[in-house]
């Protein structure tokens, strides 16, 4: 694994959806090396902060050496990062951790709750590039907080909002039964081999837990689901042991090394807490 510690340059800053910021960095080594779902430890120099902040790459373009990050402002670190503009340097450590396993032939369903969408532009692009049929389920509180569907070219995008201002009213999982009943009727769903459907999910822990519950009800094997975990993180490289997530077979896995993207059947969902709020 190549881990680079080098300054990247901000080449673009925008607001891709309400409450979020997208920074585009020029950093060819990272743009080339990163796999969808991997993350970087970003140095922030906000007063009184100490630790780097972990951010999944939203997308990368090896040809132009650019890599994008989408985040919302939840604390001093992200506030500092949101104040970076064109020409500013940002210190990246990464890419780190394991991305999603994308190589298969069957259809893929991507499920994003809230800021969990930040990892999916690159994931969808990579899935489409592999010739897979992709359905992108987006959920947010309100329409303005949805990442525009055009960011998921080649995918069928379905939406849900808590206030009903776009798509179905309710959480992103409101879209799930309909999808499973019609687009992927059993027994095709979740066979896990030839024609099986892979699910990729990222979002708040309660959403992931609801997804696991829905999967069990629909008899979808958890081995066909991959989730991008979000936990507190210290070092990002496996030394501090701070990013523990409960393992199904006892003990803990480390989000930074074993994840952040892990198969859902590796997690003890009953012990996974939603303590973290960035």
């Amino acid at each position: 694994m190549t881990i680079a510690v080098a300054p990247a340059v901000v080449v673009e800053r925008s607001v891709p959806m309400a409450g979020a910021v997208e920074l585009v960095l020029f950093h060819p080594p990272s743009a080339v090396a990163v796999n969808p779902g991997q993350f970087f430890q970003v140095a922030v120099t906000a007063p009184h902060t100490v630790l780097r902040r972990p951010y999944s790459a939203a997308w990368s373009d090896p040809a132009s050496g650019r890599i994008g990050f989408i985040f919302n402002i939840v604390g001093a670190g992200s506030a500092w990062l949101s104040g970076r503009h064109e020409g500013h340097e940002v210190d990246l450590l990464g890419p780190l951790g394991r991305g999603f396993a994308l190589d298969a032939e069957g259809p893929a369903v991507c499920i994003a709750g809230g800021l969990g969408v930040a990892v999916f532009p690159g994931v969808v692009q990579a899935l489409v590039a592999r010739g897979r049929k992709v359905t992108m389920l987006l959920g947010a509180r309100t329409a303005a907080q949805l990442l525009p569907a055009e960011r998921f070219r080649g995918a069928e995008v379905r939406m849900a909002t808590d206030d009903g201002s776009a798509g179905l009213r309710g959480s992103v999982l409101t879209l799930f039964p309909q999808l499973w009943g019609q687009t992927f009727p059993p027994p095709l769903a979740g066979e896990g081999q030839g024609g099986g459907v892979d699910i990729y999910a990222c979002g708040p822990t309660p959403m992931l837990q609801a997804l696991i519950g829905a999967a069990r009800r629909h008899e979808i094997p958890l081995s066909s689901i991959q989730v991008a975990l979000e936990t507190p993180m210290g070092c990002g490289v496996g030394t501090c042991l701070g990013c523990a997530a409960p393992r199904r077979d006892g003990g803990y896995l480390l989000t930074c090394q074993d994840g952040p993207c892990v198969r859902a059947d590796r997690i003890d969902w009953d012990r996974l807490t939603d303590e973290f709020h960035g």
Binding site: L93, T239, A244, E275
Partner: protein
């Protein structure tokens, strides 16, 4: 080429380091994970706290950032001494850099068993007795009582020929009393300080942020506390003191060396700047050159005779 500078440090019982800059326990794993760290400028690695049996560690949340610091309550997650001795030590033996194993336990018997297993194992340069872990049941019991600290140190001393460092906790009324007790009991060096016990509360959820409630505070927030502890301990014992506590820059490290530390350990900064040890090492080198000092012995503000009789 400038005049020859000697940055080596003698921590006793043959443990000679080429640099006074070490990386502290729990911030460098067992040396295998940290990216792009130049081992040539490290005085030594001190490993994660190691117990007799493997431990899974505490439930999340284990860490939280606080102003200029971080809290941790990892709970001594480690693979156990057998794995360390059998799998890790042979690899360390090829590194040309000392690896000091941090030893933890719930009882004197456990510490002794771990130390005995590591004695004579090639690749292990020394032991650091962790009598100051605030994040497991009874983790602090040996560190806060001078008599117990001495009893533990004596017991471990009796089963190992390895250089023995005792890591002191600041969570005491009188750190000097504990330092003197472990000196008399046969320690070769002391390191100070481990983390300060603290906590953070999630006001939205109305509960502690860490699953254990409390954790150990590290980082720049505790630097003045560690520095004063080292200042006191260095004046009270003849042993080399390894200074720890929020050291982030070469200037921080120099403060500890001027306070009487023979060496320093970098901790939390390793999470943030993987090259910190190199930067600190080079900064100390530059300081010695600028002041015309040939080695580190010139640094302590108080002379050795003053130090040991203060």
């Amino acid at each position: 080429m400038a005049e020859f500078l000697d940055l080596s440090v003698d921590l006793g019982r043959g443990l000679r380091l080429r640099s006074p800059v070490l990386v502290g326990s729990g911030t460098f794993g067992y040396g295998f994970d940290a990216p792009q760290v130049d081992r040539a400028v490290l005085g030594a690695i001190v490993t994660k706290g190691t117990t007799l049996r493997p431990r899974e560690g505490n439930a999340p949340n284990r860490i939280a950032e606080t102003p200029s610091g971080m809290l941790n309550a990892i709970g001594l997650q480690n693979p156990g001494v057998e794995h360390v001795a059998r799998v890790y030590a042979p690899i360390w033996g090829s590194w040309n850099m000392p690896v000091i194993v941090n030893v933890a336990g719930d009882s004197i018997d456990e510490y002794v068993a771990v130390a005995r297993r590591l004695d004579g194992v090639a690749g292990i340069a020394g032991l650091e007795l962790n009598i100051s872990c605030p994040n497991v049941a009874n983790g602090l019991q040996f560190g806060v009582d001078p008599d117990l600290a001495a009893e533990l140190t004596s017991a471990v001393r009796a089963v190992t020929r390895l250089p023995l460092i005792v890591k002191l906790t600041p969570n005491v009324t009188d750190i000097v009393a504990v330092a003197r007790a472990v000196e008399d009991a046969g320690a070769d060096a002391v390191s100070a300080i481990n983390t300060h016990v603290g906590m953070a509360i999630d006001v939205r959820r109305r509960r502690p942020v860490l699953s254990r409630g409390s954790g150990g505070l590290s980082g720049p927030a505790i630097k003045p506390l560690g520095l004063y502890a080292v200042w006191q301990v260095a004046a009270a014992v003849r042993l080399p003191v390894i200074g720890i506590g929020g050291i982030t820059t070469a200037v921080d490290a120099l403060e500890f060396l001027l306070a009487g530390a023979a060496a320093v350990q970098l901790g939390t900064v390793n999470y943030v700047r993987p090259q910190a040890a190199r930067e600190v090492h080079e900064g100390i080198t530059g300081y010695l050159k600028d002041h015309g000092f040939g080695d580190l012995r010139a640094l302590p503000i108080r002379s050795a005779s003053v130090l040991t009789h203060a």
